[in-house]
Structures are given as structure tokens and as C-alpha cells.
Symmetry: C2
Subunit: 391 residues, 2 copies
């Protein structure tokens, strides 16, 4: 299903300069316009939302963003233009000539010939304010508008790019993509945290189930993928997964997307970890090269130092330690943990974070867990379960 | 999360010919092996499932499939090999030399040096039988094994390829991918057919909802995408959607995947239909070029004539007719419909099928519906709703 929105309230403003070439003006995304190397007056049309308005002598400077990049395109217009509706947040269509910019801040700018306000925006009523950096908690109140901020726009572009990179990695490496079911009668990792599903008319009623058996939202596509790995040597899925845990931590969401893959005929755990490392690195490289400005924004204003950490990760091989080694490292740590590390007990987030720091901020695989800490479907090592406490 | 399965029960069989080159044998997918043009004895290892076994004089012929293509790779082995475990359905690892085949039926074959049975398969217990074409109804009983048949394998490969093509089309055309939520408090297209969600412990109990409001499974990401189209001029989603209709027809599934896109600043419905047509064609072209054998199988055994219909569709421009024209065409049809076509009443599947046949088996857009047949969020034409019956 495809839909379209044309924001209403069009108002045509005066056209002060006429385009030297009478041919139709080509629609161009801001991202593409910004990349034109030797702009020489191409007639283009750009559509987007005003991010800033500045009047200077005879000239009006606008910045227009269309979501295709963090950077906006500078529009230069004659100040005789009626600018009352050219406000922050308004949606506009600008036709003009793409020219080399006089300023060093950008390569190109658009010399406007016609500016059309498609949808106006009243500054007082608009919760996002010009030049203000709004805290994320404030933006939570405006799920329908927050995607217009730099931070959320960047995160959504990065997520889109990472999603595409994950699909590409698996496709390029011969994996078959499987849509494992969201509705399932399976439990995968232990009961008590599943969402169950019934038609809304029956949910609290005494009627029989809609399906023949109780239906849950998937917590993992793994068991379905394992079935597929009996016919395809390499399969993956990348879909929504659900947990009904009433936890407000950063690690627990009711709904999240998960990448899962199965490889048949794998010889060793090392081969598998190699795939995971390559997937991580390929995805990170794609995001760094396709969204450099978005990563920079995150690096500077959201997660300080993030870019350096990513580049450090790319340059180094991931590490592998055993569960027993991990416990030893944690026992010798000078840090006080909320949960005392102990052989036979699962690792906590604080432990995992410490291990990564201990390993020089390189991702680290922890292998050879005691079998009782892992679900039934995990493969046991050939030396059998190791249940004895290590001194 | 990544997992691996190595099918157990390994048995090493005798190695009768030694590889002339001592270097490690490279793992190769069957699809890639079949494409080697001038095979000249490369040492390779192939892993997969036996699709046929034939003994002839001194030679044993096996066909091994690994799901990477419909075609299997022919393995030629010395018949002195203990072949008791080389049965249909067994999983094997074969090392040998890739050579030009003597037969015209294939370009290459693998001259086996070592065959290892990774997992054996007892023909009597195995519900899929050698050389039998099982009806789909029969295969429904074996969801964990049916992916090993030609038909289901092909469908899954085509689905994987089509999924990748849809992602590529949107990415190449500058769309931002959005994961619209599966859990939502929205209804999109009218009540009464939604699945509602609660933790399994609460589903039939009197307790309060897990979420602050009743939570449903999405029937469409459209409203969420529309929000995003206020910040990004082109967005799409491709995720699972749900209907709680208790209908067993081919057109109604409880869970299905849907592609949805939103484009801001669209000038006309034509621009939108252009995107839909391009998406259809790009996806079809990708499937035809990447899975020609799978399409051929479908063409011959599943949906007779399918390939011709697809090629016909690719060669022609999609048609556009108005709802009023559609009703006129249906009224003049010699066919008897179960539902009599009538202006102001929605089109049925039988009507849509007739219209496509009437239009020469080319997809046809029906536009300008009476507004009361469409949901509230559809854009009204500028001439307002046309509610009067057309004579």
C-alpha cells in the first residue's frame, strides 16, 4: 500500500528572478544537491522544511532540510520576498539555480526564483523551537514531531542504513532470508515473559482460543530457523521480537528487532564468531561511510567519543575468552559489583561492561558457559557439561 | 543471536582418490559450483543433502543440494565406496575435484575423493520420498521438512530474493526505512478485526492491562509512516501485519508482510502509481534474473504459465481506470458474478480478476473511488466527494 501526503495550505510567493534556462526544473534531494561539485546554475526544485530564516540587508537566507541528510541546503532569496510565512518548521518548495556558495560553510547554495509555502507553521504553537536543543525527555511528549529534530532524524537515518547493511551482508554472503512467524505456539527461552494474543472481542472473555492452541508473540525465531537450516545451509531472519517483562531498563523493551542466523555444517564456534564479527564490522563501516554527519552529531552531542570507539572496534580483532576466564577477571577486579561474580552464576550487565573495558574496549565473546546457564537447545561441548566449580 | 547446527552422527567413508594438489579444499556452495565455467580439477568441499543416488557399473552418482539453488550438484564416486548410508535425505560433506562433466545435463560435476555422512536419513521413516511429487496438502503435515522439497525450497528462495529486491528498490531511490511498531494502540482501518495483546499470565484474568492502554497488533504502519513523512520526504516500511478475521480464504492470513510507503510533496496520483509500478517491475526483474530455475519450476508445475504472465507485465505499462469506468466494464461483462457490480459498492475479488483479464492481463489501477468506500485518512479529490450514482 502506498500513500501520499501533500501538506495543504499552498501559497505562492513572488518570483523575483527568472530562470535563464526555460527547461523544467528537476526535483532534487537536499543530500544530492549538497554533493554537486561544480554547481553552475542548474535549475532545480527542492522540497522540505525550513530549519532557519535569517534576513541580512537585501538578502534572505533560509536553510531547508528534507530528511535525506543532517545538513540543510542554504537558500538565498531576494529580501523583497514576502517572508511572513517563511517560518521555522514550515514546509516549502523552492525552485531556483544551484550555484557555488560564496561562503566557506557550504559548497553550494540555491539561488531561489520561486518559493512556495506548502504548509505553514506557527512558531508559538510548535513545540520544537528554533535553535534550541531539546532534552530527549521533552521530545518524548511529541512522538509525531520529534523526528524533525537533528538527534532523532540522525538516529532514524542510521537505523535505516544499518538495517540495509545487515540485509546486504547476509545476501552478499549467500544467506537465504526467512520471515520466521511472529505469531507462534512456541516458547523459546523459558515461560512467564510471553505476550499472548487473542482477537480484541475475545481477550477477556471465556470463549475458546482463536487459534487451536494458545498463540504467543515470538521471543526468538531460532527454532524456526533451525528447521530451515535442514534445507538451506545459511539462513537469517531480522524481525520483531517481544518480551512481556515489566522492566523499564535500557536493556528491556516490549518490542525490539533481532538478527538471527543459522549456519549448517559449521566446524567450530570460531567460524560462527567470525560471521558475527564480520556482520558487526560491515554494518558499522556502512553506517560510518553513508552517514558520517549523523555519526559525528552522535559523537559530539549524544554519546561522547562514539566515533573513536567505533573506529577502534573496526581496527581490532574481537577477543574470545572462556566463561571461567571471565569469572577470574571479574574476581580480580578492583571494582565493587552489585552482584558478586561467582562461577556457575550468569554474568550481569555490569560484569559484561567491565569485561569490555578490561579488554581495551574491544567486543569480547565469552564462550564455554556452564551448560545449566544456557537453554536446552544450545549445543554442548564435546567434553560434556562442566559443572564443577573452578577454584 | 547466531547459532549453528552441525548434524550429528558423522561417519567417515573411505577416500579412494587422492587430491593432486595438497592445499586445503575450499568450501563452495552448490550454486557457485554449478556456475564454474571451465572446471579444471579445483579442490572443493560441498556440503548438503542427498537428493538422489544411482549406482552404475563402477560408478556411484549422487546429487547433492544445499538450498542455494534448485539445481543439485552431481557427485561422481568410486562404487567401491561403502554406500549404505548414502541415502536420499542424508546430509553429507563431499571433498573432491570440480571437473567438466561428460554429460550434457550439467556443466560441471564433483569427482569425489572423500564423502562424509554428517547425518543419516532412514528412507522408511522419512515422509518425503525419493522422486515423488508430494501434494502441498500432504506437505502441510511436515512444516519442519517440507522446505527440503523443490517446490517449497523455490518459494522460499524467491521470497528471500523479492524481499531483498524491495529493500534495494527503496534504498536506491532514497527512501528511509522505518520500523513502524507492531504493538500499537492505533486502529487503522476499522475495528472488529484486531488482535489484542496481554502477557500470558494476564490474558484471561481481571487484572489491568500491561500497557496503560489496550495494545493491539498493527493492521498497518500507515499512520506511523505519515508522521515520519513530516520529516523525511520518502519513507517506507516492510513488516508483519495482522488481521483477526476468521477466514480461510487465500486472501486472508492472520499474519502477513506488507510494504507501505509515504512520499511527501507528491504532485499527483500519477507520480505515486509510477513508484508502485517501478517497485513491482524492479522486484519481478530481480526475481526473474536471480532465480530463473525457481521461476521455471513454478511456471511448469505450480502456476502454469506464470513466467509468460510476468514477462508480459514487465513489457507493458500498467493501466489506470476510474472506479466508474470499472463498474461500467463489469456491468457490460458477459460473466455472471456472485456479487452484482453496482456503483457505490466495493469491488470483489471476482471483479478485480475480471478487470485484469479485461485489460489484457496487465495490472490495472482503479482510482477515484467514492469517498465513503475508503477510510477517513484517504485524501479526497479536489472536486470533493462524488456520491451520486452514475447512470
Amino acid at each position: 500500500m502506498l500513500g501520499a501526503r501533500r501538506l495543504l495550505g499552498a501559497l505562492r510567493l513572488c518570483s523575483s528572478v527568472s530562470c535563464p534556462r526555460p527547461r523544467a526544473s528537476a526535483k532534487m534531494r537536499v543530500r544530492d544537491a549538497l554533493r554537486v561539485q561544480d554547481a553552475s546554475g542548474e535549475c532545480v526544485t527542492v522540497q522540505g522544511w525550513i530549519r532557519s530564516v535569517r534576513s541580512q540587508k537585501e538578502v534572505l537566507f533560509l536553510h531547508v532540510n528534507d530528511g535525506s541528510s543532517l545538513e540543510s541546503l542554504q537558500i538565498v532569496a531576494d529580501s523583497s520576498l514576502d517572508s511572513r510565512e517563511l517560518t521555522f518548521g514550515s514546509s516549502v518548495q523552492v525552485q531556483g539555480q544551484l550555484v557555488k556558495s560564496q561562503s566557506k560553510r557550504q559548497n553550494v547554495e540555491l539561488k531561489a526564483e520561486k518559493i512556495e509555502v506548502i504548509g505553514d507553521c506557527e512558531a508559538k504553537a510548535f513545540p520544537i523551537k528554533y535553535k534550541e536543543r531539546h532534552p530527549l525527555e521533552y521530545l518524548r511528549q511529541y512522538p509525531h514531531l520529534r523526528c524533525r529534530t537533528n538527534a532523532l532524524g540522525s538516529i532514524l537515518r542510521v537505523r535505516s542504513e544499518a538495517t540495509a547493511a545487515i540485509h546486504s551482508y547476509f545476501k552478499d554472503n549467500g544467506f537465504v532470508h526467512i520471515h520466521t512467524p511472529v505469531l507462534t505456539s512456541n516458547d523459546c527461552e523459558g515461560a512467564g515473559e510471553l505476550f499472548q494474543v487473542e482477537p480484541s472481542s475475545k481477550i477477556k472473555g471465556p470463549e475458546e482460543s482463536f487459534f487451536d492452541v494458545p498463540a504467543f508473540l515470538t521471543v526468538s525465531g531460532q527454532l524456526h530457523l533451525e528447521v530451515m537450516s535442514g534445507a538451506f545451509t545459511q539462513v537469517f531472519t531480522f524481525g520483531p521480537t517481544f518480551r512481556a517483562e515489566n522492566s523499564q531498563s535500557r536493556r528491556h523493551l516490549a518490542e525490539f528487532y533481532m538478527v538471527e542466523a543459522e549456519i549448517s555444517f559449521v566446524e567450530s564456534l570460531q567460524d560462527l564468531m567470525q560471521v558475527m564479527e564480520e556482520l558487526f564490522k560491515a554494518t558499522t563501516e556502512m553506517v560510518l561511510s553513508h552517514c558520517p554527519e549523523d555519526v559525528e552529531l552522535c559523537h559530539q552531542f549524544i554519546a561522547a567519543g562514539q566515533k573513536g570507539r567505533l573506529e577502534h572496534m573496526l581496527k581490532n580483532n574481537f577477543l574470545i575468552i572462556s566463561y571461567t576466564e571471565a569469572i577470574e577477571i571479574l574476581k580480580q577486579a578492583s571494582q565493587n559489583f552489585a552482584f558478586t561474580p561467582k562461577w556457575g552464576v550468569d554474568l550481569q550487565t555490569e560484569h559484561e561492561k567491565y569485561l569490555v573495558r578490561h579488554c581495551g574496549n574491544i567486543p569480547v565473546f565469552v564462550i564455554n558457559y556452564p551448560s545449566e546457564l544456557k537453554p536446552f537447545y544450545m549445543r554442548e561441548n564435546e567434553d560434556g557439561p562442566q559443572n564443577t566449580e573452578v577454584a
